[in-house]
């Protein structure tokens, strides 16, 4: 009894010590097991100037953890590394490249070999060194991953009673853990969609009036910054960028002091970058703090979305923890702003539909409209989701007349936002003139006006193509032809993860949580939501067909799965029902959800970041 009390009193420090000890033990005895239990080994050889092939003879088979190739290259040099056995036969082959900006390439080999043959694509103009070694190497990134993994598990388990009553706290813990892992491990690598554009807009926005573009910033803006493949190269890449991040030789130019609406989604990142710059932090740290601003904004807004949900908090939590969204929130990207604010807007909107007899509170309406506007800054087309409010009953308003005037004002508000899609174009002039010049310059033959004419010349054939594209895409998510869960250029955690994620969404949507209020959506409202989801999806597909595809194209290309994230909640809330309810405790209901979504996120981080970069 006394022992139990003592354990309870010191359970938090004991847990912290256990988490740290477990992580250290894993790092020492599992990830460094070859260096701990086998021989520690290092061998070096010189790379002769003008010699295309270099041989490193190790005499007998050794376990090689890393191979380091140093070469003062003037341009990027590709190389092949062939592993030989004791008889001189080829075991396997690896490829790599040396950036002239880094002058070194480090390869995580993790294999046994008796010899190495290094052959270059071009004859090297200068000499260098090749080093093969197996030493104990503490990886702070890998250790951070395990500390945060065990720490999160301990937090969720020990606080299960509290967080099942307030799941938004569990959401914040999971989102911040997975997001900070992503930020720390991606570093200065640009692995998100169009990241150079987002970095450029964020950096410019972090200045008022006069912008300073250092060489390091220009390399990020033009996607020419060196990419690292492991923590050894990371040190080189970061020190290279730091060396060229000099404000004395920066490009200096002026920009407007006003923050244009299409740039406002970058404000959290820009503010954090400005703060980090003023604090004089290193360049790589400054970038990570910029990304952290995005993650904090996403977490805060989704936190309130979960807290404010009158029903299906679990569903809101699972959708907010969609790996694609957490990834976007941890990179330079406006998706975090779009996804979080639209999720909050839709949660508040659904709350109103769940209570048809209660008058809408002005502050709730202000919050809904504000969230819709902020969420649509970067992609005005999503403002159309606000049209759902047109269908709120007259009972929600003080008078019937006020209800109708509200609907009129809301329609004008949505149209104003939508007009910006056309009005803001760089072409200017009339809307028709704008359309005539609009189109994504990355695809040849785009012309919005021409595409609209094409659609109207054969509307039924376009409708057929649109519907088939939508259904094929949904089918592809489940057959593995297309991956719903994606970490942009890092790849996908796998089709199985997509299935598990949708299973978790369906579970949270279908099964009622014990102790949750039991208001119900009317069938008419569900039909309305499904119509809105279908309509928004069609608008997304069509907008890509207009802007990204050549006139008359027979397929719709360029539609990314992340564009559908804002409608996920609206779609799955339609599955709520009174028949299915979780019979066991609320604790177990939420623990299933926490485990599945946190597991998916951390598995994705493990597979796509730790294994390729830090193992």
């Amino acid at each position: 009894m006394k022992g139990k009390t003592w354990l309870r009193r010191f359970r938090i420090p004991l847990t912290i010590v256990s988490v740290l000890a477990l992580s250290v033990l894993l790092e020492a005895f599992f990830f460094n097991r070859h260096a701990m239990f086998q021989e520690r080994y290092q061998a070096s050889g010189a790379i002769e100037q003008g010699s295309q092939e270099t041989r490193l003879d190790l005499r007998e088979e050794h376990y090689i953890k890393t191979v380091r190739v140093e070469l003062a290259a003037e341009k990027t040099v590709d190389y092949r590394l062939i592993l030989l056995d004791g008889q001189g036969n080829e075991i396997s082959e690896r490829t790599g490249s040396i950036s002239p900006k880094l002058g070194v390439s480090v390869m995580n080999l993790r294999a046994e070999a008796a010899g190495l043959v290094l052959s270059f694509s071009d004859v090297p103009a200068a000499g260098g060194v090749i080093t093969a070694k197996n030493f104990v190497e503490w990886s702070p990134y890998r250790m951070f991953f395990f500390i945060s993994l065990f720490g999160l598990a301990a937090f969720l388990w020990m606080g299960r009673r509290i967080v099942s009553g307030k799941p938004e706290y569990a959401f914040a813990a999971i989102a911040l853990t997975a997001g900070i892992q992503l930020i720390l491990m991606t570093g200065t690598n640009q692995i998100s969609y169009d990241e150079q554009t987002h970095v450029s807009k964020t950096w410019n926005l972090s200045f008022v009036g006069t912008v300073y573009d250092t060489e390091a910033v220009l390399e990020l803006k033009t996607l020419t910054a060196p990419e690292f493949h492991n923590r050894f190269e990371r040190v080189q890449a970061e020190s290279y960028l730091e060396s060229i991040h000099d404000y004395d030789t920066a490009d200096v130019y002026r920009q407007t002091k006003m923050v244009y609406y299409d740039r406002r989604a970058y404000l959290p990142m820009a503010v954090c970058i400005a703060a980090a710059r003023m604090a004089g932090l290193p360049f790589a740290v400054m970038l990570m703090i910029g990304k952290l601003g995005n993650l904090l904004m996403y977490t805060a807004v989704c936190f309130f979305a979960i807290r404010k949900a009158k029903q299906k908090k679990g569903l809101v939590l699972v959708i907010a923890l969609l790996p694609n969204s957490i990834f976007s929130a941890s990179q330079f990207c406006y998706d975090a702003c779009v996804n979080s604010f639209l999720l909050l807007a839709m949660v508040l909107t659904v709350n109103e539909f769940l209570t048809p007899k209660e008058r809408v509170r002005p502050r709730d309406m202000a919050a809904i409209l504000l969230c819709l506007i902020i969420g649509s800054y970067a992609k005005p087309v999503y403002m159309l989701m606000g049209l759902l409010l047109l269908f709120l009953g007259n009972e929600k308003f003080p008078t019937k007349c006020a209800a109708w005037i509200f609907r009129g004002a809301l329609t004008v508000l949505c149209l104003c936002m939508l007009y910006e899609v056309l009005g803001k174009s760089a072409v200017g002039g009339s809307a028709m003139e704008t359309l005539a010049h609009a189109g994504d310059t990355r695809t040849e033959g785009t012309n919005m006006l021409g595409q609209i004419r094409h659609i109207f010349s054969a509307p039924f054939s376009y409708a057929g193509m649109l519907l088939s594209s939508m259904f094929v895409r949904i089918a592809d998510w489940f057959t593995g032809k297309d991956q719903f869960l994606m970490y942009a250029y890092l790849g996908t955690p796998g089709t199985l993860c997509t299935w598990i994620f949708f299973a978790a969404v369906c579970f949270s949507a279908l099964a009622g949580c014990p102790h949750e209020r039991q208001e119900h959506l009317k069938a008419g409202n569900k039909a309305l939501f499904i119509t809105m989801v279908s309509g928004m999806s069609a608008v997304v597909w069509t907008s890509l067909y207009l802007s990204f595809n050549a006139v008359g194209s027979r397929v719709i290309e360029g539609v990314q799965n992340r564009y559908f994230t804002p409608v996920l909640f609206l779609f799955f809330i339609c599955f709520m029902n009174r028949r299915l309810a979780w019979k066991r405790s609320r604790e177990s209901y939420y623990m299933i959800l926490f485990t599945v979504v946190a597991g998916l996120l951390l598995y994705a981080n493990w597979k796509l970041l730790i294994v390729p970069y830090y193992l």
Partner: protein, 219 residues
């Protein structure tokens, strides 16, 4: 005090909407919302050292930008020639505005040295003119090459990718781009956009407040 504020909340919201509407109307009447839009193709022949680039009436948007009293701070021509083969020399830019009668009503100038260790070079020409400035905006661009520099830039102006910039791109002589663009500082456009959104938002919110709004809170 709290009671009084709650009672008047509805009035505050309507007042806010009306003020936003006023800002919107004011911004609409005095717009500063032009986007320079057209493409301009200009080529300097080999050996040609000077060329006036006149923005003809076809580029009406540029001109209309200067048509009302405005808060344009200045123009900012820039030379950008990419990473490779950076030329030396100097870029001189004169800008002036003529009215319909062809009379010069404004002039400004700037210059920028081009050197091999710079990726871009900017010059800033402040526009301090106050009052109405309408007419044709004309640029004169003069490139003085560095000693021993044989090539002259071939200039193509485009602003398709840069919202409010006129871009002059080197097409043939250099590996990279030679850009020349100007940035006009438009200060009231976001105001126009925000004012109409704020106005509509407040109208929508006000419509959810009945005459009895606040009374229940006070009670």
């Amino acid at each position: 005090m709290k009671k009084w504020i709650l009672k008047k909340k509805r009035i505050w919201v309507w007042t806010g909407a009306a003020l936003a509407a006023l800002v919107f109307v004011w911004s609409s009447l005095f717009p500063k919302t032009a986007y320079d839009t057209r493409e301009l193709h200009v080529r300097l022949e080999e050996g040609e050292q000077e060329r006036e680039i006149a923005l003809t009436p076809d580029t009406i948007v540029l001109i209309s930008f200067f048509s009302k009293e405005q808060h344009v701070e200045g123009i900012q021509p820039c030379a950008d020639w990419g990473a490779e083969n950076r030329p030396g020399g100097q870029l001189f830019v004169d800008v002036w505005c003529v009215d319909e009668a062809g009379e010069q009503i404004y002039a400004g100038q700037g210059s920028v040295p081009l050197s091999a260790d710079m990726r871009r070079a900017y010059t800033y020409i402040p526009l301090s003119h106050e009052g109405e400035l309408s007419g044709e905006l004309i640029f004169a661009i003069r490139y003085v090459p560095a000693e021993g520099e044989a090539a002259y830039p071939s200039l193509i102006a485009t602003n398709r990718d840069l919202n409010d910039c006129l871009t002059v791109v080197n097409e043939e002589q250099y590996d990279g781009d030679l850009l020349l663009y100007y940035v006009c500082m438009r200060e009231t456009y976001p105001l126009l956009f925000d004012a109409k959104l704020v106005c509509l938002l407040l109208v929508c919110v006000a419509l959810t407040m009945g005459k009895d709004h606040g009374k229940e809170a006070c009670a």
